[in-house]
């Protein structure tokens, strides 16, 4: 059930890119204690545009989890903080994404996600990294 976020866990507020080498995150939405104030190390930075099919799948999972009404649009630009996901919604979304894409999302990576597009870009990266992972099967991230 969708609810306004007043919880410890949620995705980040929109990322402001200050220069190409560092990205600092704007402050957390009220009531969310999710870590977002510290500069994000480059390896977690969201850089490339996500594939459209990834964005669409993420939108579907998010819409289902949050029971978003039909007339409310969810797109790549949608910010998680504005969709009213609380912490339980967020962990369920992350789990749904992990299952759908067969990846593992670290808490610290999830921190840098502000929009649906960011989530899709992270997924694309994790999926690509997984398909080029070492024979030992150890995931790269």
């Amino acid at each position: 059930m969708a609810s306004v976020a007043g919880s410890a866990l949620s995705f980040a507020r929109p990322v402001k890119a200050t220069n190409t080498n560092s990205i600092s995150l704007t402050s957390a939405r009220k009531g969310n204690a999710f870590l977002r104030m510290q500069p994000v190390p480059m390896r977690f930075a969201v850089c490339c545009t996500a594939k459209k099919e990834t964005v669409d799948k993420v939108c579907d999972i998010v819409k289902k989890q949050l029971a978003v009404p039909e007339d409310i649009e969810v797109s790549g630009a949608s910010k998680f903080s504005d969709l009213g996901a609380d912490s339980l919604d967020t962990v369920e979304i992350v789990m749904g994404l992990e299952e759908e894409f067969k990846i593992s999302v670290e808490e610290s990576s999830a921190q840098s996600i502000a929009t649906v597009e960011d989530a899709a870009a992270l997924i694309d990266r994790l999926v690509a990294a997984k398909s080029s992972e070492k024979p030992s099967g150890k995931p790269l991230e």
Binding site: A8, K30, G31, A33, V68, D86, S87, S108
Partner: protein, 322 residues
């Protein structure tokens, strides 16, 4: 001004108009608003927590909602409008109005709800920003807010960090309870849940654990990844005390992620209106000088700010579980 809305009900005490800083939005009669926010009994000690909540679905009067909107800062209004859809926008607005009016109650009506300013700690947890020019008083107030789709709660404590989480008892998860627990909880908590055969009972215990962990993380103020749920256990012990302990396997190897997971916190878990679980967590400053923790004192009010306040703790509406 909307006279008909500023009713005096049983329990509301008329207050003299106090001197106040100039209202941010000229034209709103600050003095009259003050008169309708009666001061609650003060927070007696660091062990006491006061919770004020409102139900957005019950607040639909446009002039009332406009009155609440007037209390917000421009950036709060902007943030509320950025939410996806009218319901979320209304909830976001009410959340700020609840916070501001609640805080005002604890300043002996000396601070107008509109006057509060806020800052974030380095992890993003909101705190009151008191003017440092010495012109206004300060109160050692700490707060935390929690939302469900049907209820917004604001917890207040004096001189101690606080976290609060409210959740609908019947909230259905999309994912299976045990898979959620395995992904996010500690092994001992997974075992505890796995032993519950009735799925409704299991779901309720899951929600109880969730609210407790959430309240702790919010009190710590470091964010979810700053205190991952699977690094600490909340045990509901048979004597009804809630014990928090670091998850042994995860925290024994010098995992710096566990260093600040302190264990000196007090919890209260209650059923609210038979539809919700509410967990409150405050820092325990007693330094173990007492035998076992003295329970946290909890008072709960349902409020329609400026209209009516109802003390619900001490009635059937609030059932302490611990």
């Amino acid at each position: 001004m909307h006279h008909r809305l500023l009713l005096r009900r049983r329990g509301a005490m008329p207050l003299p108009s106090p001197p106040q800083p100039a209202p941010r939005t000229p034209g709103v009669a600050g003095g009259r608003l003050f008169a309708s926010l009666p001061s609650p009994p003060p927070l007696q000690s660091r062990r006491e927590v006061h919770v004020w909540y409102l139900c957005p679905d019950e607040l639909n009067d446009h002039s009332q909602l406009d009155m609440y909107k007037e209390l917000l800062s421009p950036s709060e209004r902007k943030n509320a409008l950025a939410m996806n859809g009218p319901r979320l926008q209304k909830d976001a607005m009410l959340s700020r109005a609840l916070l501001r009016t609640t805080l005002s109650r604890y300043t002996d009506a000396k601070i107008d709800p509109r006057s509060f300013e806020f800052k974030k700690n380095k992890f993003g947890k909101p705190e009151i920003l008191w003017q440092s020019d010495g012109s206004s008083m300060e109160w050692p107030l700490h707060f935390n807010i929690s939302h469900t789709s049907s209820l917004i709660a604001c917890g207040i404590a004096m001189d101690t960090l606080i976290g609060i989480d409210v959740e609908e008892k019947k909230r259905k998860t999309v994912k299976n309870i045990l898979s959620l627990a395995r992904r996010y909880f500690t092994p001992s908590e997974v075992d505890y849940l796995a032993k519950i055969s009735d799925s409704d009972a299991q779901q309720k215990e899951f929600i109880k654990l969730w609210t407790l962990k959430e309240a702790y993380v919010k009190a710590l103020g470091r964010g979810f990844s700053g205190a991952p749920f699977n690094r600490f256990s909340n045990q509901l012990e048979t004597n009804n005390r809630i014990q928090i302990s670091k998850a042994a396997k995860v925290c024994n190897d010098s995992d710096s992620g566990c260093d600040y997971l302190s264990e000196n916190w007090r919890f209260a878990l209650a059923g609210l209106n038979s539809s919700y679980y509410m967990a409150v967590c405050i820092e325990d400053n007693s330094r173990g000088s007492e035998n076992g923790s003295v329970p946290l004192g909890l008072k709960v009010w349902k409020t329609i700010p400026f209209i009516e306040d109802t003390l619900v703790s001490g009635t059937d509406a609030v059932k302490l579980i611990t």
